[in-house]
């Protein structure tokens, strides 16, 4: 089980003192936050991709490469990489490069984005969102696995004998998650390839995601990648903690009430009752998240959104201390208890290399015989 944080890289005014970090300050703060994540023992740092203010993360591999150079164990991921509007050839190249530089500590989460105008800005049509996600990934999947690719599709210029460089580290492409909050097509796609499925469930009630993840698990089994219980599932989460529950509630409320997405809408009490957001003591967070597998089955990755809505860097770093020192160690024990032995751990490069070696050997033997 892997635990980590994911960020949307928003530059938001702190509603308690009306200060706004500069883009430069926010960018450096993200690096500090990622390094802190490693320091407190988290496994994953995932960065979003946006092409409009107030977000600063338009170039994720630049930032992740910079973070890779300053960390040793942290897995660097995305939340999400826009498979719709990016050229899949460039994704193949960028993330293979990052994978080499980070010694394999890289995986990627594909998503379609939530900002309509990004499509026309990059010459695409939002009505093609799903077909773009499907076709672009089909190409990306091949570019990482075949040395020379002949390819023709609907949305990109054809390729003849194209080789994307560098080739994936150790011949093993980065692990891929597909993120979706609603579309069964994306759950189907993840299941077809045997890739991971990430449900960013932080804004919606769990019943919806129980069905969506249940569907993905069932289709994962259908496509022969293992049992439904062995499908690779990631979930989002959100917490704000102080030693005393009421202190957490009082301190977080102005950030909640003014937050992008849900601010000025439901009360914090309603929202915490209906979504995974937990505002309270570390024990309350442990209780809420330890219960996740009762709803979604044993899963592989839990990411928390910790740094949005104008929370100051100092506060975010304190939150990461609490998360890493008081919450995650307990959750690791809770999740390990009664976890069936055949449920996979969270994906790592080393495990993928080992799995590839185990797969390839018998094939090579049979080729040698027929040669």
């Amino acid at each position: 089980m892997q635990f980590g944080i994911f960020t949307v890289s928003d530059v938001t005014t702190d509603p308690t003192d009306d200060t706004t970090p500069t883009e430069g300050e926010r960018i450096k703060a993200l690096v500090t936050i990622a390094k802190k994540a490693e320091e407190v023992g988290l496994d994953v740092f995932a960065l979003g991709e946006h092409h409009n203010p107030p977000f600063v993360s338009s170039s994720p591999t630049t930032m992740l490469g910079y973070i890779a150079a300053q960390t040793t164990d942290l897995i660097l991921s995305t939340s999400t990489t826009l498979i719709t509007t990016n050229d899949p050839v460039k994704i193949a190249e960028d993330y293979a490069m990052l994978q080499h530089l980070a010694d394999g500590r890289v995986d990627v989460m594909m998503g379609r984005g939530n900002t309509g105008p990004v499509y026309p800005w990059f010459g695409k049509d939002i009505r093609d969102g799903i077909p773009l996600a499907i076709e672009n990934y089909a190409l990306l999947h091949r570019l990482w696995r075949e040395d020379f690719v002949d390819w023709q599709g609907q949305y990109r210029t054809p390729l003849q004998g194209f080789q994307s460089t560098p080739r994936p580290l150790d011949g093993v492409p980065p692990f891929v998650w597909h993120g979706s909050i609603r579309s069964p097509e994306i759950a189907e796609q993840a299941a077809f390839y045997g890739d991971g499925f990430f449900a960013n469930n932080i804004f919606w009630p769990k019943e919806h995601y129980m069905r969506l993840i249940g569907y993905y698990r069932q289709r994962f089994e259908h496509y022969g990648h293992g049992t439904a219980a062995q499908a690779i599932v990631g979930l989002g989460g959100q917490a704000f903690m102080r030693a005393k529950s009421q202190d957490a509630v009082n301190e977080f409320r102005p950030y909640f009430d003014n937050a992008p997405v849900y601010g000025h809408g439901p009360s914090m009490e309603d929202f915490t009752a209906q979504t995974p957001l937990t505002v309270g003591s570390p024990q309350e967070v442990i209780d809420k998240y330890a219960g996740m597998r009762d709803h979604f089955g044993d899963y592989q990755r839990q990411l928390f959104l910790m740094d949005h809505a104008g929370l100051p860097l100092k506060t975010v770093l304190e939150q990461l201390d609490i998360l890493g020192e008081e919450v995650v160690p307990v959750l690791r024990k809770e999740f390990a208890a009664n976890r069936p032995a055949d449920v996979p751990e969270g994906p790592t490069h080393a495990a993928l290399v080992a799995a590839a070696a185990a797969r390839v050997e018998p094939v090579e033997t049979s080729q040698a015989v027929t040669a």
Binding site: P131, I134, E135, A138, R142, D150, W151, Q152, G153, Q154, P184, E185, A187, E188, Q189, A191, F192, Y193, F203, W204, P205, H208, R211, L212, Y215, V261, Y262, H264, G265, P266, D270, F271, Q274
Partner: protein, 219 residues
């Protein structure tokens, strides 16, 4: 005979409201008309949704993208019905903002094929065409079956002259009671034969022809 499900959406803001009053009259008339076609009133399941009761939830849904459990129950009752009675006050020449906000949180496909009786209330008769220039296009866009007779009740309709010595309202070709009866019988005819409430919707149904590797297939 399986139970017929009738949903009533009323967007009146006050309590009691004349919008709810009209909705109730339309509901009673529809249940009566169904009885006339052989559907016992015990076989008709009526769910009334006062949008005022879920006004906060509707706004939250617009902001967050998801429905609270209470609103979700209301949405299910509406979208899974055999027929819908939709009644709104007319504000500033059109349906009320709350009414439209509720429609906006429904899945755009959820009312496809739904027989809808359009009703509206207003201070004067001058806004009666709002049913036809505002409500009707809205439901046409959603591929609902908006029935030919819409019922508009102005304040004066509730105090129309009564024949001397009788307690009954005036029954003339264009009287409110008459319009209610006519509209209700149109809705009843559709509800009687509808199988909408029996349909099973698979939220994970993939579009026809969908392939996880795309239109060009694995090459």
């Amino acid at each position: 005979m399986t139970a017929r499900k009738l949903a009533v959406v009323t967007a009146g803001l006050s309590q009691p409201s004349s919008t709810r009053l009209l909705a109730d009259r339309l509901t009673e008339a529809t249940v009566r008309a169904l009885e006339g076609t052989g559907v016992a009133s015990t076989e008709v399941e009526v769910t009334v949704i006062e949008l005022r009761d879920v006004a906060q939830d509707v706004t939250n849904n617009l902001l967050t993208g998801f429905a609270s459990p209470k609103l979700e129950t209301a949405i299910q009752a509406v979208t899974g019905a055999d027929g819908l009675i939709a009644v709104t006050p007319i504000f500033t020449t059109s349906y009320s903002g709350l009414f439209k906000s509720f429609i906006d949180v429904l899945d755009p496909q959820a009312l496809t094929g739904m027989p809808v009786l359009l009703g509206a209330t207003g201070g004067t008769e001058r806004h009666s065409l709002a049913i036809d220039y505002a409500m009707r296009p809205l439901f046409s866009y959603l591929h609902a079956v908006a029935l030919p007779t819409g019922v508009y009740a102005a304040s004066s309709d509730w105090g129309g002259p009564t024949p001397a010595g009788s307690g009954a309202p005036v029954r003339s070709a264009d009287g409110l009671a008459d319009r209610i009866e006519r509209a209700a019988s149109e809705l009843a005819a559709h509800v009687r034969t509808s199988d909408r409430s029996q349909q099973v919707h698979d939220p994970f149904a993939l579009p026809e022809g969908f392939s996880p590797v795309g239109a060009f297939g694995a090459q």
